[in-house]
Symmetry: D2
Subunit: 384 residues, 4 copies
């Protein structure tokens, strides 16, 4: 099978996520990076492209240039990864879709709800593939959890506890010039949700993905602990799902001690599941009145969904890059299956797409609206 | 030093917590059980007393009888542990205080806010000692955490995450006759708060004890997952503390996989602390831009407060009974210090008393009020 | 049931293990300390006895004095705990047995093999009870492990990995006057085995207790890493058990990072078990081709042996003192059952006695002999 | 930088390690697979090559054919990965070296000591690069450990505890046709060491790599627990290093519960380090009289050696494939540096080469010799 041809916007020198996309695309040999507009500075972007071994003719200064040139090539790129700040996702994706390219977009899908609605509509109408890199849904044991919940292994879900604590913004690093932090704390470039938009949206997607639940409503409390910061850096959200299940979501960019502490716990009527991103090869399963058990990635009794996303036997840790690569492998399979008019196989199913992206943006909007609502009642215990 | 003379109400055959009180009272040789009215059934109560080796003359059928008889003895009991269902705490404690006895009371202090207010007032006016067994504040590493937060080691507290998940009521065991569950699910005997009253109050006390924060206000969501149950068995609460810190509290009696999973995390501007009850000899400390570190019970650099509550070197696990015994040792010291007109030493300081008990009941009331409030706004994300 | 009357030799001011014995004896109300000769210095010993609330008449200056006086009392002590340095165990135990007292002796049983043989013989001939405080066999989950191995749950045992690393003697603390370290590094007072005698003997007992295996032979390597120390502070031993199973044993007093890291792993043909003293409420069980499972203390499916040694439900950590108290409760039950001419119940069975003590001393002797053997062959890989 | 051209021998359909090599080679874009003789069956091998997208002209039936054809091409492969059973390593490597190719060889280097000596000599004389895939030395935190030991952070090393337990051969899977197990239990194809040759050699290399110690001598005990198996499946080895440090090594293929449990602990005079392969992003560091600390991959204070082998920030788990990819990236750098006549940068230093391979084979030989030695003394404790 020949690799699919990938283009990239953003993700050049000094970017964190762009390199992750390239590693993930490369791991399974399903993609070949052929074109890029890697930087807002055209010169820097071209230099970076050359450093990646790209054809100088396909090392573009701007994404507009790239779209125009690639659209005209017979060996044109087939999908494009968008690794730029949030507010640019929509215009770039729109132009790509209109030029007939498939899209792989970073989360959150857009900086505003209006953009998200429009982009999701465009994706639907055009038939283009729009994958969204909700990374944690690339992990095999997250799929295993989803399959088990769906199969009723823990009974009807009662409550979901999900958290995404980080520590890297515990001080005002945006005021010291940290580029990643600068745009993430700028409401225009980032959107209205600070921690809730940047990482809360991951937690929200993960909780819904595994539990299979649909949100009914929420009430939220946002806080900004670092002085001078324009957006929330800590979010508490109480969730009510359709059907009566409840949830609690915490996202924080100021949680010292947590590098990337995504943790999900799902409690049902006959069992529970726990997954922790920093130990991602294990799923903790406890049946009612039974023992805590460790389900290991690669174990022979795992679901097809988990097995399709694993490369090594139990005990050989796979991690974040492999999860990301699973998304890329899934996107490739989805695109190929569409071209071949067939159903995708396991790795190409249950992928995060524009619809998930839109739901995430709508969630962030509701959280911010709730936190800002004038009528939010906070009860004081009787003065004792 | 002679042991203090202890009486007990409730806690007889089949009771869980009564035996814990007796073990805790005995461990350090500071108390001697001399009298008891252990059961609502006088005969069963007397039989139990004899089985404990009590003097037949002090093996009482009712607490009223015990108070009358003991009050007349020269070697009368000095303090009485109340180990009965919540709704009886107030009348028993009132009678004891009025008869001049000190009191050790199970939590929650009372079943209603009115009772709690009255009891706390009575304790204050009478000068009697009223200790409340908020067990988790007996752990040495909880004291260590409190001291470190108070000393500024993690900076100003920003957010507190506290949870108390249990699994034992995941099914309708009260409908199968489990005595412990029967009264805990009866609003009259238990009070209005189900999980929030039974265990949420522990979590709330622990969070305040360690963080040093005072609650400003809260908003809450209660759920009852087991059908036919009259009280909440799962509670989500968002907390706002005075001064701007935030908190998230979860209590659950239906969290399969959790035996007694009390966990507290406190995040400040320059560090964080984590303590987990099922591994209570360790405190996880992470300074800003530093490494995750394990502070062990018994380590030479611990505070006087922690050292006073430890009996063995690091590596020799102490647990729940030792924590409970620390409360009993502390109550003994507080009572002795009062008698001797001196300040108590370290183990007799920072004890949970009627004031803490009252704050806990007020918290539970506010949670239930919030959850029942008609104007509680739950936002729906835009229908997507 | 009235408590048994306990005497104690050694274990006075500043002693570590004496206090542990007293806490353990007190916890379950099965013992009452009535007499003591707590110190080599008679005055210090008597002062200490008074501080413990003992009758001045039973606060003895020497153990010889205590034996003589107590033997003459109608309410004489019934058993005596020996908490002195190793080399005095034999003469004290001999005198006690000859005066008709039962004995609870610290490990190792004696400082020399000859003493151990003589003491075990004396115990057998006299019918006196001689319990040895191999603490780790007091833990309920160690009993659970033993029962499961004996029931064939992991199949025929193949290999046992046991270790007991400590860090407290990583530097020459005996040269700085640490009293505990001074006698432990003195061959006369301690015996020939340094780490292997002090803690290796615990590990050896634990491995045999759980696996049910009998040692066939061994080969050992002792090292002394702290300069000027007269005995080994690190021991490596390869074990061959009767029937073909193998074992590896490591004891160390210089293993920085380990407070009291007793760990046992037993591997059989159809499963394995793991127990770690610093997390003693859990037993890790893995069946062949199955999942790693956590067996919790207090779970309803545990053996009678484990249940008899537990006081609280799962999730309420019990630890070292409770394990020690289980030994004391077991010793009381064994003594009572003998007096009543009946079989002891579960807590009074499978106790460590003089026979186990003798086996431990024989093990230490063999280890030291092996390490000192002139013909021990150490192969050099071909010089490459 | 253009990728280096890679060939591969073995590692076709159904092989475990071949796929790992291809993933690892691909991840960083430093290698391109251009040729292969993947199977002992020429037809199957060619079919597999085509499935990997190789040029049909370079999809060879035998390695001899491949060497002959590639040697004649201007775009010939530059290095060749040998992924065949042990006994074929030497003839293949010899032919490759003599034809001027660099070599990447699986461990153990060869099946016999004579072959290992000859191959190492050949590598030295020819100037060809011969890398050996001691996988665990590819992990960044293993390098971090090595650097810290070398810098004296834990003082002079006293003892090393290393183990490599596996469970996959706990039953006679070789008798049920498991291809991986069949050749590993065949002394001719595998060599004399069973578990000790297959995985003990990894443990031995890891211990020496991190500790910096050189083995002086050893004494060993081998066992075969699965009936009918021709080679050891469990090995216990006591190590004496030059300079006085000691070690204990355990390898097992029958350790139920362990998927791939490589664990290394190094204890020095002023601290200790622990690394566990199933949680490879952390290094546990304990200074003398200090706290247990977690050193995380990606932390800013890590060594250049560790940083060069990491791709993501702390909290984003990297694992086995990344470690393997680090070896491939290192081999590429070593080959390029040689070509350019310069010193390799950090990732190209401290690589496992033929010399390490030879030392591993010599170790295995000494272990087997020791275990088989007639004069190996096993002491019996006095019959008690």
């Amino acid at each position: 099978m020949r690799p699919l041809r990938l283009g990239m916007v953003g993700g050049g020198q000094g970017a964190y996520i762009g390199n992750i996309h390239r590693l993930a695309a490369r791991l399974d040999g399903q993609w070949q990076l052929v074109a890029g507009a890697f930087d807002v500075d055209p010169e820097r972007g071209r230099a970076f492209a050359l450093s990646q071994g790209l054809d100088p003719a396909r090392s573009y200064g701007t994404w507009q240039e790239m779209i125009a040139a690639e659209a005209a090539r017979p060996d044109r790129m087939e999908a494009v990864a968008i690794c730029t700040p949030n507010f640019t996702h929509y215009p770039i994706a729109k132009a790509l879709i209109e030029a007939g390219f498939d899209v792989i977009c970073e989360k959150p899908l857009t900086a505003t709800l209006a953009d998200a609605v429009a982009l999701e509509q465009l994706a639907r109408d055009s038939g283009r593939f729009v994958g969204v890199t909700y990374t944690y849904s690339g992990y095999p044991m997250v799929h295993e959890a989803r399959v088990r919940v769906a199969a009723g292994e823990i009974g009807a879900v009662r409550t979901v506890q999900v958290e995404y604590p980080l520590e890297w913004m515990a001080t005002a690093i945006e005021q010291q010039g940290n580029a990643q932090a600068v745009w993430r704390t700028d409401p225009v470039k980032n959107g209205r949700g600070g921690s809730i938009g940047d990482i809360g949206t991951h937690a929200y997607h993960l909780a819904g993905f595994v539990s299979g639940l649909t949100l009914d409503s929420l009430t939220a409390d946002l806080a900004t602990f670092v002085s001078g910061r324009a957006l929330d850096d800590n979010a508490h959200v109480m969730l009510r799902y359709q059907g009566g299940a409840r949830g609690l979501l915490w996202s924080s960019q100021v949680a010292i001690g947590h590098s990337n502490g995504v943790r999900l716990r799902v409690f049902g009527g006959t069992g529970s599941l726990q997954w922790y991103q920093e130990q991602p090869n294990e799923l903790i399963l406890t049946p009612l009145e039974g023992r805590v058990q460790v389900v290991k990635r690669g174990a022979p009794d795992l679901s097809e969904d988990a097995q399709a996303r694993t490369r090594t036997p139990p005990g050989h840790p796979e991690g974040y890059l492999e999860a990301f690569a699973n998304l890329y492998a899934g996107f490739a399979e989805a695109i190929r299956a569409r071209a071949e008019g067939r159903e995708p196989d396991a790795i190409g199913r249950n992928l995060p797409t524009a619809w998930d992206g839109l739901k995430g943006v709508a969630f962030v909007e509701a959280v911010v609206d709730s936190a800002e609502a004038a009528d939010q009642p906070w009860l004081r215990p009787v003065a004792v």
